[in-house]
């Protein structure tokens, strides 16, 4: 194995150094490996006993070494064991550990002259473990050397002299055979062919490959990948093999082995195999071929690699699929899994083994494409897909286009074999993913979590916040399949410097200008309840898209994921009105969708916040009216005999006035709801439709498209007035400011300023997606009746927005992320992670008045 100056080892391996004490292992390790790659028994002894020579600490030291090694191998890191390892039992342990993590065990033997070791050892005063030790180790080593292959080591390197050791210049780490990460595609991955040559050629042509002398190339540089099971059952196994071999050799195709291919190889190698499951057809057909061809087939099948990892690790192809922890690893177990999958040990009603559903538990990032089990229709489950559509059983031959994720297939020309398990598609069932998503896993949401997002980088969810969110989600939230989005919190503008105002448009415009934004959209802010509305054309649209049955044509939920309406019927009746308007406005056709998710405000405030109004706002008004009214009366009486109370009287008269304004302020947002048309829905974002999250469109686009729908039913739908403001144009700013003044003078809540683009970033990252500027009178509801008294207002003006703004950005990034994952049809847990994250972040303590 050792070339003159270089040693080759697999890039992911467990390198076991073996040699007597003082044979030079540690020096060698330090020279050729990173310090963190070396797990040394001496060091472990020192860690557990403060003495690296303590033999009493050996047991604990080896436990520690094993533990560290296990963690490293799990993480896919090459590890070097620096210990004597002259005893078979010690080496066995390492081989077992390597197998457990599916890495290749490698041994480097330091077979040094005994004299040399003894001499070196004598020079080390700290080691006095008896004269017999080194000779014993040397003899143990020499007896073992020839068994190393049998013990399971894949690479064995033996060094016999210090000169040989010194001659080694480098240890070269060879990529594993399955590592095709640099092959980035695009690919066309083809399911189980089973000798169906004609269909294969049709499919390849349909994929627009061009053939020259048996080599299929694609103008766009696409390559073919075969998931294995080329042979058996079908009519033209040799032709299929020929095509695949030719193209693999030419570099235009890749192929992984299937169980049928492996069995055929066994037969060709003269092993005793049961001839069944269509092997006979292969045999009969191959016998007619030349011996040279058969030899070529043998070589080819023997050289197939269990699985491939393509495209920087984003794509894995294996015949029967592959668990995440086995991706890019090498062991007998990996090979077996790749070819046979896993079974539960049970037998199903058709007498076939029940397969263990590894894909249901798959949480990896890589897409796994496989075949092996015929299915009526390929379906995604947790980023895995089975594309064996049973061509040989009269089904179809299917290819998956990567990275497009498109399926292309051709029908079988006839049924070549009869399947034991019927291949009919069950109509009306939820998709595999949707069925799987009926139940989410707790471990995906609890504890500290980090959610990767496209726009906001990594967002950390703290454990204590997850605890609160879990309770809210479990006790109050609706079916999580509906929850594709929770709205982010919104920060107010910086505090105004103007007398009498806490908020004023200037600061919002200044913020955006300084963030590098040139154009903003101002939208009137409605005072109601923030809701997310999902509407489908019909129940079937909901079933198709959300995997929800018997819960109506949609839902309306609050910012914490609860039902907005207490009664299902009211909700559905209300949604019918929205649905009508969408139909009439041609929305569904224009957007080529059968459903929509809207972000909206639903009024009146009193409809949802009734108990809050009664126990808090109304109550404060009632208490203040009584209390201050009587105080004013008493003060007036006192003033007639004592002028010293006049000041106090004036103060209380002001309070009386403020109380009246406070009551007026909240009353504005209250009206009784007796019928559906007493509700007013003001949508402001078209969050998502089929295949699209509309976060790349400007807010003007959103407003215009929503307006078209609202016009169809002005009785319940409210188009929000808005203005577009050029931040470099003083007149434009003045106009918007005046607009805000007039809105708030009429008692309006105020307005929201958003950057023209939905997602706005600058050098520092995301810019606030929206900033609210609330009116003077409205703020009485938030800060209390007396907040405008100068002594109060001046103190209220010192408020910090940092926490709120940071929260707003994180929640916004999570919200968008959830939507995008949903429309990409990712597993629900990936969407839920975002939604749960927003809820968890919302439990962070932030001044609720902001």
């Amino acid at each position: 194995m050792a070339s003159n100056r270089n040693i080759h080892i697999p890039e992911l391996s467990l390198v076991v150094l073996m040699g007597a004490s003082s044979s030079g292992k540690s020096t060698f390790a330090r020279k050729h490996f990173k310090p963190t790659e070396i797990v040394s028994s001496d060091q472990c002894r020192a860690l557990v006993s403060d003495n690296e020579n303590s033999q009493e600490a050996s047991t604990d030291a080896f436990d520690l070494a094993r533990f560290i090694t296990g963690k490293r191998l799990k993480a896919g890191l090459l590890t070097v064991i620096d210990a004597t390892n002259v005893q078979e039992s010690a080496r066995k342990d390492w081989v077992r550990l390597a197998r457990e993590y599916h890495v290749l065990p490698v041994v480097i033997v330091f077979n040094m002259p005994e004299k040399l070791c003894v001499q070196r050892n004598e020079a080390r005063p700290d080691r006095d473990f008896g004269k017999h030790v080194i000779p014993q180790q040397v003899s143990q080593l020499r007896r073992s050397v020839r068994h190393l292959k049998l013990e399971g080591f894949r690479n064995i390197v033996e060094l016999r002299s210090p000169e040989e050791v010194d001659d080694i210049e480098a240890i070269v780490r060879d990529p594993l055979y399955n590592n095709k990460k640099q092959e980035q595609g695009p690919f066309d991955i083809i399911g189980d062919v089973h000798g169906c040559y004609d269909e294969l050629v049709q499919l390849i042509e349909k994929l627009e490959y061009q053939e020259v002398e048996g080599i299929y190339s694609h103008p766009a540089g696409r390559k073919l990948v075969f998931v294995g099971d080329l042979v058996d059952r079908g009519p033209k196994t040799p032709a299929v093999l020929d095509l695949v071999m030719t193209n693999v050799k030419a570099g235009t195709a890749f192929c992984v082995p299937g169980n049928h291919d492996a069995k055929l190889l066994k037969w060709m190698n003269g092993k005793d195999v049961t001839i069944a499951h269509g092997l006979q057809e292969s045999i009969d057909q191959l016998i007619k071929e030349t011996p040279a061809f058969r030899e070529e087939v043998k070589q080819f099948l023997d050289g197939l690699i269990s699985h491939y990892v393509f495209d920087n690790g984003n794509l894995v192809v294996a015949h029967a699929g592959l668990r995440e922890e086995m991706h890019g690893r090498g062991s007998g177990a990996v090979r077996d899994f790749c070819m046979y999958g896993e079974t539960t040990g049970e037998i199903d009603e058709f007498g076939l083994p029940v397969r263990y559903n590894w894909a249901a538990e798959y949480k990896g990032k890589a897409m796994v494409v496989y075949g092996h089990t015929p299915v009526p229709e390929p379906q995604w489950l947790n980023r895995t897909i089975d594309i064996d559509t049973g061509c040989v059983f009269g089904g179809r031959l299917t290819a998956l286009r990567y990275p497009e994720k498109e399926l292309v297939s051709v029908p079988a020309l006839r049924e070549y074999a009869v399947s034991k398990r019927p291949l009919q598609k069950k109509e009306g069932q939820l998709s595999l993913q949707q069925q799987h998503d009926d139940v989410l896993d707790l471990s995906d949401v609890t504890g500290k979590h980090i959610v990767e997002t496209t726009y906001g980088h990594n967002i950390t969810i703290k454990e204590e916040n997850a605890i609160t969110a879990l309770e809210v989600m479990s006790r109050f939230a609706i079916n999580p399949k509906w929850l594709i989005y929770l709205p982010p919190t919104m920060s107010p503008s910086e505090t105004s410097k103007l007398d009498g105002y806490l908020e004023y448009p200037t600061e919002a415009f200044d913020y955006y200008r300084s963030a590098g934004v040139e154009k903003v959209v101002c939208e009137e802010k409605h005072m109601g309840s923030r809701v997310v509305v999902i509407v489908g054309r019909d129940e079937n649209a909901i079933k198709q898209t959300f995997g929800i049955e018997n819960e109506g044509i949609g839902t309306v939920y609050t910012r914490t994921g609860r039902h907005y309406f207490n009664h299902k019927k009211t909700e559905q009746d209300f949604l019918l009105l929205v649905n009508d308007a969408l139909e009439k406005s041609g929305f569904y056709d224009r957007f080529q969708t059968s459903w929509v998710c809207l972000d909206a405000e639903l009024m009146p405030w009193s409809a949802k916040a009734q108990s809050l109004l009664e126990t808090q706002y109304g109550s404060v008004g009632a208490a203040a009216t009584q209390s201050i009214g009587r105080a004013v009366a008493a003060l007036q009486q006192a003033a007639s005999r004592n002028s010293a109370v006049v000041d106090l009287l004036e103060q209380y008269q002001l309070k009386q006035q403020q109380t009246k304004q406070f009551i007026k302020a909240y009353r504005r947002y209250c009206w009784p709801v007796h019928k559906l048309t007493d509700y007013k829905l003001a949508p402001f974002h078209i969050l998502a439709t089929e295949g699209k999250a509309w976060v790349q469109e400007s807010h003007e686009w959103h407003m215009e498209n929503i307006q078209l729908v609202c016009e169809e039913d002005p009785t319940v739908l409210l188009a929000t007035p808005y203005k577009i403001v050029e931040l470099n144009d003083e007149a434009s700013i003045q106009d918007a400011t005046n607009w805000w003044l007039s809105l708030t003078a009429k008692g309006g809540e105020g307005m929201v300023v958003k950057p023209f683009s939905y997602i706005q970033t600058n050098k520092k990252g995301l810019v606030q997606p929206a900033i609210k500027i609330r009116g003077q009178e409205y703020l009485r509801i938030i800060y209390g009746p007396e907040y405008t008294t100068p002594g109060n207002l001046n103190r209220l003006k010192s408020r910090g927005l940092g926490a709120k703004r940071s929260l707003a950005l994180r929640e916004f990034a999570l919200g968008v992320e959830g939507l995008e994952r949903f429309i990409k049809k990712e597993p629900l847990r990936r969407v839920h992670e975002c939604v749960f994250g927003v809820l968890a972040l919302e439990s962070e303590p932030v001044d609720p008045r902001l």
Binding site: V439, T468, S474, E614, A622, A623, I628
Partner: protein
């Protein structure tokens, strides 16, 4: 907030001596949360009226971060009735403004101190939890004549109903010292809230200020309970914060369960324990363990080798940990029991592999459509050999006089099932997941409506589950 005291004693101006406040001045007294003003609207030979006007600083109220951590939520929101109502702030102002009078001293006319005089008190707005009946219970035994007027929440919206605020007028012939001590204690009792942390010293204050009259007051227990009201826990506050504009019925307030809770609930738990003992279960998971009452019963049985309590409420788990004295158990006992936060709407590997699962009065707290997830989590994934589920029997509700038809026993119940509904559900699950099921009633049985509680006991028919479990004990 305004407190008015009027004296009809002759000469009326004696009141000013008793209170130690000159009638021609406007007195200003700093209190912790603002200023108290004292002034006299009327001073004549026949009538003397004094006002204590409490000017609470609403901004300071929120900003001040005194008191133990978390206390800033005790009075909830930022739009607050505290500046406008008689509350513990008023008690604090009384004790500060009229400290001399309260201690029974009067420098100029000491002979007046112990003389009962005709007095009238008006509280402009006082919140009373429990309404008129509570006021009567508190003040009538002390000899007061009561006149009270309740105010609507908002006259523009009559449908919002009555507020909890009253204008309260009390008349009595009583010493000023007693009057003030009555108000000092009974105002916060009416309100049933405190603006500060209640600790050990509160008990002493109550005993000292009420020593002359509280021991003989017929409502003394009620008074003490409310006066010494404890804080809501921090965990609850986190919840309140999250749901800030979607008020949830507070458990304590929302509880309308009319049964004689203690006896019936104990009975239910004993029935569940008996089933688990009989099933020969060695490991049990209590799903929705709440404060750990069932776990406590099970811990006493040696048969149970491992007990896992799960609840979604972190606060309940904290209480359970306390009640089960987990910190004080011997290591061997401690190893038998574990508490975890978890949810019945998420699959959880930690609850898989138990001999038995108990869900005592749990399913009715889930929205009915969410039961689909619960069913899968328990019967498809966790797969215990036995599952015991109890839930209210809705038919029995008509035996409760105070429940309107269709009303449920608890404000957080999302549904309550009749016996037929429960059995239909159970039968479907048993069929779907290969379990056998028997139904039992818990509590005294009524020939027409059955018992208060119904119970279903599921047992798996899948022998491999049982066998695997059995082998895993390492026994033959």
């Amino acid at each position: 907030m305004l407190l008015t005291i009027t004296s009809a004693h002759q000469p009326a101006s004696d009141l000013s001596y008793l209170l130690h406040k000159h009638p021609d001045k406007v007195h200003e007294i700093e209190i912790s949360s603002g200023v108290a003003h004292i002034f006299y609207p009327e001073v004549s030979e026949t009538k003397c009226t004094v006002c204590l006007l409490l000017d609470i600083d609403p901004v300071g109220l929120v900003r001040r971060n005194s008191g133990p951590r978390g206390n800033d939520f005790a009075l909830e929101q930022y739009v607050n009735d505290r500046p406008y109502v008689a509350s513990s702030f008023m008690s604090a102002a009384i004790v500060k403004a009229f400290s001399t009078a309260m201690s029974g001293r009067c420098k100029d006319k000491p002979e007046l101190v112990n003389v009962p005089i005709p007095l009238e008190v008006e509280l402009a707005a006082i919140p009373v939890r429990g309404g008129e009946a509570v006021v009567k219970e508190l003040f009538e035994p002390l000899g007061y004549t009561i006149q009270m007027e309740r105010h609507p929440v908002d006259p523009k919206f009559p449908e919002w109903g009555e507020s909890r605020y009253f204008t309260l007028r009390l008349t009595n012939t009583v010493t000023v010292q007693h009057l003030l001590s009555h108000l000092y204690i009974l105002i916060p009792v009416c309100d049933n809230d405190k603006h500060y942390w209640t600790g050990q010293q509160e008990m002493e204050k109550l005993l000292e200020k009420g020593k002359d009259w509280l021991p003989t007051h017929p409502a003394r227990v009620f008074i003490a309970l409310r006066y010494l009201k404890h804080q809501r826990s921090l965990a609850n506050q986190a919840m309140a914060m999250l749901l800030k504009d979607e008020v949830t019925e507070d458990d304590e307030e929302g509880r309308t369960e009319p049964e004689q809770k203690i006896r019936v609930h104990d009975l239910r738990l004993q029935a569940v324990r008996d089933v688990l003992v009989k099933a020969n279960a060695k490991t049990v998971v209590d799903l929705g363990c709440g404060e750990g009452k069932l776990l406590k019963l099970l811990l006493e049985e040696k048969q149970f080798e491992h007990l896992l309590g799960m609840d979604v409420s972190y606060r309940s788990l904290e209480i359970a940990k306390d009640k089960l004295r987990l910190d004080k158990l011997l290591p061997k006992q401690r190893q038998r029991i574990e508490l975890i936060q978890g949810s019945l709407t998420y699959r959880d590997k930690r609850i898989e592999g138990f001999d038995a699962a108990a869900l005592v009065e749990v399913i009715e707290h889930l929205d009915e459509p969410r039961l689909a997830a619960l069913e899968k989590i328990i019967f498809k994934y966790a797969k215990p050999i036995d599952v015991v589920i109890t839930t209210p029997n809705a038919e029995y509700n008509k035996r409760f006089g105070n429940l309107a038809a269709g009303q449920m026993r608890h404000s957080d119940h999302r549904f309550e099932w009749t016996r037929a509904e429960f059995q239909q559900w159970g039968d479907r699950l048993a069929e779907l997941y290969n379990y056998s099921v028997v139904y039992k009633l818990v509590g005294e049985e009524d020939p027409e409506v059955g018992a208060l509680t119904q119970m279903a006991v599921f047992t798996t028919k899948d022998t491999t589950i049982g066998a695997q479990r059995f082998l895993s004990y390492g026994k033959q």
